[in-house]
């Protein structure tokens, strides 16, 4: 585990958007990288359309929660949550934002923005916004071992997807397509 990137990420959205799935893919990727990982999820009543936030700590940590002002990055699937969860970010941290108006949000305060819902709609796979946003984050931030800002790479996430969905071929194909759609958007 020596030399493993130590990173804390918060994923924010509302029930039904696939916040937990994105978090678990990132956690799988951390294990693939040979490191430890802890996450914390929202279950229960909040999943009925309410605010859902999950925490991910890759590397050597003991507790599952990220403190305010400590997160390296924030992935926001629902723009209205940004004011609620922006405080998790440490100075200089990044924000990856799903918004219908990416042009207006991009660049201010470490924000990288994409219209993941819009791209999902265009692609005909309405459920795919979470993976489009994740793909966008992976490409835009880059993997830490190649000088980027994220502890894992698109290949790690693709492998995690394959492992989780290997027995459902068409769903896996659609998910990988969504991930690549996001990656394409994320490349500058």
């Amino acid at each position: 585990m020596s030399g493993q990137v130590r990173q804390q990420i918060v994923v924010s959205g509302v029930g039904g958007q696939g916040v937990l799935f994105v978090t678990r893919l990132l956690a799988d990727a951390a294990i693939r990288r040979g490191g430890s990982v802890l996450t914390s999820e929202t279950h229960g009543m909040a999943q009925r359309g309410g605010v859902v936030v999950s925490h991910l700590k890759a590397g050597d940590f003991a507790g599952p929660l990220v403190r305010t002002g400590q997160a390296d990055g924030l992935i926001v699937l629902k723009e209205e949550n940004l004011p609620l969860h922006r405080e998790f970010i440490k100075p200089g941290g990044w924000i990856v934002l799903n918004t219908p108006r990416p042009g207006a949000a991009e660049g201010t305060g470490g924000v990288h923005a994409v219209d993941a819902d819009g791209r999902a709609h265009e692609s005909g796979n309405l459920q795919a916004a979470n993976l489009i946003l994740l793909g966008f984050a992976l490409a835009r931030l880059g993997a830490a071992d190649r000088g980027g800002r994220l502890f894992c790479s698109p290949d790690d996430i693709e492998a995690a997807l394959t492992q989780r969905m290997g027995d459902r071929e068409s769903a896996l194909r659609a998910s990988i397509a969504a991930l690549h759609l996001g990656i394409l958007r994320g490349k500058r």
Binding site: T23, R24, T42, H43, G63, P64, G69, E87
Partner: protein
Amino acid sequence: MNERVLMLGNEAIARGLVESGCSVATSYPGTPASEILSSAVQWRKACGVPMHIQWAVNEKVALEIAYTASLTGLRSAVSMKQVGLNVASDPLMSAAYTGVMGGFLVISADDPGPHSSQTEQDSRLMAMMAKVPVLDPSSPAYARELVEIGYEISEIFRIPVMLRPTTRVCHACQDILPGEVRPLRREADFRKSPARWAATPAFRFELHRELAEKLAAIAAWPRTAPARLNPHAEGRRAVVASGVAAAHAGEILLESGLWDRLPIYRVVQPFPLHTAFIAHLFAAYEEILVLEETAAVIEMQLLDRRRVRGRMTGTVPEAGELLPEIVERLIAEFAGLPVKEESATAKGGGRRPTLCAGCPHRSSFYAIKKAAPKGIYPSDIGCYTLGLNLGGVDTVLCMGAAVSQAAGFYQAYRLAGKPVDIVATIGDSTFYHAGVPPLIDAVVQGARFVLVILDNSTTAMTGFQATPATGIGAANEPTGAVDMESLVRGCGVGFCKVGTPSRLPEFTGLLKEAVAFSHERGPAVVIAREPCVMDRRQSNRLPPRRKVRVNEECNGCRHCTEQFECPALVYDEGGQRIFVDTLQCTGCGVCLHVCPRSAIVEEDPGGGNP
């Protein structure tokens, strides 16, 4: 398996059960404990071990079944959420006296916050009251290990053992290396001993004395003694922490540079607290800060009040989760460091939960408000608690209380000579769990109210577990089934009719009929039967989809968003009118009957029923 895999805390606990040779596992679903039993089903299949795994009708029944299996020498476990332990407390208190043969674990998941519960109660207090040992894991990996340790204590001392995870253990994920599965190959062998298993009060006195001796021995058992996390640190102050608070505290000490100068102890067994540890603390330290969730269980066993800081001194907040930001502040204050400004906790708020688009409960509540507009609406525990957003829920107390509260309101208003319409709602699973005895009571007392059983044929809020009516078991195996109408009629109810809530006009008419019956003749029951839209098992039973749109008649009055609150009906601030969010709309078509101006219309008439 020889690779680390990502496990949810509840999956890790279930893994521990299978690895330790648990033969009988029972539960009633409740957040944050629900996935323990469903994961046990998965591990049983993956590992090919024989086990009986079942959802029980409620936690009391679940505990009694699992406990009795232990009397035959098998290892067993019951899991539930903390308020479920209230329901199961009667057999727990007694089982502490009578003891066990095979290892018996009571897994009670607490919910500091609370995130998804009526209370923040601490199951460890229940363990104290019952006089059974309780183990308090600080992570999913540790929770898995404590299952085997719990079984060892249980079998060495012949006592039920409680495992008490919290939400941040149950719903945390961690990389865990699965251990070996060791089948115990035990067979049921019940040795009769009426003096113990059917003890009368005279024997109970002896059993109580025996229990006290067991606890004294457990308080000296080395394997669960508190661990000093930083043995090299020296000082006259120490932190004593358990559960997730111990994980937060350890991390914060490392990051704040206090690791080398503030001794910290992690307590694994908060009750009975190790006697030698208590003596050591007072011999070694002038001041002790106790961090634990959610009650002062460790703290109250440290009897020198002048040297202990915690909840009882007002140092630690009395309510709410011990978030790491709070732990950070408490440690900084205790160590005399400046408290950082940014250590405030994240804001709450944001979008509130609501019933899903297409949820049949929404139509039920809308119809109830039409049928008894001035009524009192007692309700119960489940997704439909969210009917309070719609003004269709006035009270929520605990499982099954909708029925007894309806009776309570009736009797109170009857005394005043002021009759009032009372329409109670309860889910199907909740009705089987705790709604039947109060319904019998209502029939006996002639309480006049309408009970609407919201029957979506699943336990939706906790992850779609089957109900006793479905004839499906925890592993989707066929089971017996109990017919709801027969059960209601068997309770002596004179009015029991089934309706389809999405057929709103007819369903409203049925409710009015029930209200009229209840005025004259005692309790009336309406079963609102329609599948949960989120339950994949029932997707073939959903009504045909209808395409709706909002026409130019809409004047933006917002009756539909306020009284019906379907997430697919959205108010457009710019256009000042409603539009249909086609991403969310399930096409249930109920909103066609909701708009006062009939501005919600079907795009392709003739596309379906009703």
